[in-house]
Amino acid sequence: MSDVPFTVTADLELGSRVEPFVRADSADVRICEGSVPDRLDDASEAGTNFEVSGDSFLLHVPRGASFLVEGGSRITYRRNDTSDRDVALFLLGSAWGALCYQRGLIPLHASAVIKDGQVHAFTGPSGAGKSTLVAALSRSELDFFTDDVLIIDPARIEPGRSFCYAGQKDMKLWKDAFDLTGSDKLGAVRDEPSFEKFFARPATMGENASGLLSSLTILKNENVRRARTPVEIEQISGALALRALRESVYRMRFANAIIGREKLFRTLGALISAVRVQTFDRSLLKSEFENSTAVMRDWILDHDPAAR
């Protein structure tokens, strides 16, 4: 079984983030520069900067590149004077997510570590600390697996187990997260000098780009505001888990428009049956980071998937 859900060939440097996906030729998906329309005819769904029509998806980045994703097999980009770096950044973000949906895959907004083939994923909105937590966990007996995107193949969810794929093999961390996590700083994420976010290589890198999804943890930061136990891991199920998981879907509106709500919710329902879903409530204060990270590390190391 392949380590990646699809392969790509591209006429620009995509960097090491999606290295396992890249082939020199004969790939499932072709990425190339070309003509991209300003609008799609008969769009069934539109946000401020994206449109979906049939098997076409269009995205315009403000003062940046435009992307047309078609039929799950082609991404055309119009550069609009932006650098390779910026084109690749947005291509591997929203456009990549749309590509996954077109190919029948479900990308989750999650970062993850891997231990003995078991993947432990963390999800939450931007700013929740997914990447920082995973980077820190990657220096304590766990290996980094993916940053920002975790890909689920509905066809590979079975009773009691679900396969998953790494969406991005490089991390993106804000400047102040390097001291917290001990990660190596690589190049800048953007060409804007004031944008202090960098690609990062965590302390330990897992070789695998796929694995069995063992737990999916939703990051929360509520207890400390509500005078409750500040660090808490709580398993959730049923409607609560489904609601939490829905929030974790990468660009929910893309999902609804491209694969449809029914298939999406059927997949999420199956995923809940196959994987432990839990919340991790913790302080976001830097002074508490080491302690709360240790709590999660210990939980993962103690966790026996067979006991579920």
């Binding site: 946000g47 401020t48 900067n49 994206f50 995205l59 980045v61 403000p62 003062r63 940046g64 950044l89 947005f90 973000g93 929203s94 909105p125 931007s126 700013g127 929740a128 993106k172 804000w174 102040d176 997260a177 994420v189 953007r190 804007e192 004031s194 944008f195 202090e196 976010k197 930061n221 509520e222 400390v224 505001r225 509500r226 005078a227 409750r228 660009r251 929910m252 509106r253 893309f254 302080s283 976001l284 204060l285």
Partner: protein, 295 residues
């Protein structure tokens, strides 16, 4: 106190064409209290121990909502790039809603780099502007940030380029323009009808201020004295404090001891040094005088 410049358009009758009501203020000026008051007036059945403010609508800097509606990854964008999209983001929110939305705003009223106002008039019913004596704002804002370094707060309030959040934060960047700049920016714009309420007037006669807001928003509930009385009673500071003590408050910053502190007027005069008060007064004198705030 209501300020309606003669050349400002009156509030329109139909609000679904323009469903957004902005609750605009510099931080710690009574915005949350106003949301709670309006919630207890309009959506009382949905207020519970976990949900202090049940009004529909969020905050202008909601990053999660921005990412969903625009399809863009805001965490990979510069704050200025995000601002380019924000007017259309609010229009899209307005286009999708079936009821009036009350959106909290700590941004000053300003344009994006493309020269377009961040808050489009074409989807805005109006704005309620809350303002509070800057000395009291300083004390409350310091508590909100979890420290008592009033020098730092005074500097922020006097800075035209003062910003909140942005970058790695869970909320989008908000350019407050400083205390004076915030007030000026909202009161010099002519596109969005504006009602200004002083925090001190809310303390002195909460019911009267709530009625003013209801009238501005063309709410029938404003004519129901019993509903007004109940909303005021349910939103009393003592009640909110007790509720926070018992159940916590979701919007409390981690670093702050509690969200609902004294709520009083006059703390700043006692707790700021003469020099700190002087610096605030010298920088903000014109606006303070306009609002009747004594040094």
């Amino acid at each position: 106190m209501t300020r309606q410049p003669a050349d400002r358009a009156p509030a329109p009758d139909g609000y679904l064409e323009k469903p957004i009501v902005w609750l605009a203020s510099f931080p710690k000026s009574g915005n949350t209290w106003t949301r709670i008051l309006l919630s207890n007036l309009l959506a009382h059945d949905y207020v519970d121990e976990d949900n202090f403010a049940s009004l529909l609508g969020s905050i202008s800097s909601n990053r999660r909502s921005f990412d969903q509606v625009t399809g863009l990854p805001s965490s990979d964008m510069t704050d200025d790039e995000i601002d380019l999209v924000r007017p259309d983001f609010y229009r899209a929110l307005a286009a999708e809603c079936t009821e009036r939305q009350f959106v909290k705003v700590h941004d000053g009223y300003h344009d994006s780099d493309a020269g377009e106002p961040l808050f489009p008039a074409d989807c805005s019913f109006g704005a309620i502007y809350l303002v509070r004596h800057p000395y009291d704002v300083a004390v409350s804002y310091a508590n909100h940030q979890g420290h008592e370094n009033f020098d730092r707060i005074v500097k922020q309030m006097n800075q035209a380029d003062h910003i909140m959040a942005g970058g790695r934060q869970s909320q989008l960047r908000q350019r407050t323009l400083g205390w004076k700049g915030h007030y000026r920016s909202w009161h010099e714009q002519r596109a969005i009808p504006l009602l200004t309420i002083r925090y001190e007037d809310m303390l002195a006669d909460t019911a009267a201020c709530l009625k003013q807001m209801a009238a501005f928003l063309a709410l029938d509930e404003g004519k129901d004295d019993a509903a007004i009385t109940r909303a005021v009673e349910e939103s009393r500071f003592e009640k909110l404090r007790a509720k926070e003590d018992a159940h916590g408050f979701r919007e409390k910053p981690e670093k702050a001891g509690r969200f609902f502190n004294s709520g009083r007027s006059g703390d700043g005069r006692q707790r700021l040094s003469t020099e700190q008060r002087q610096r605030l007064y010298e920088h903000n004198r014109e606006v303070m005088e306009e609002l009747g705030y004594e040094p």
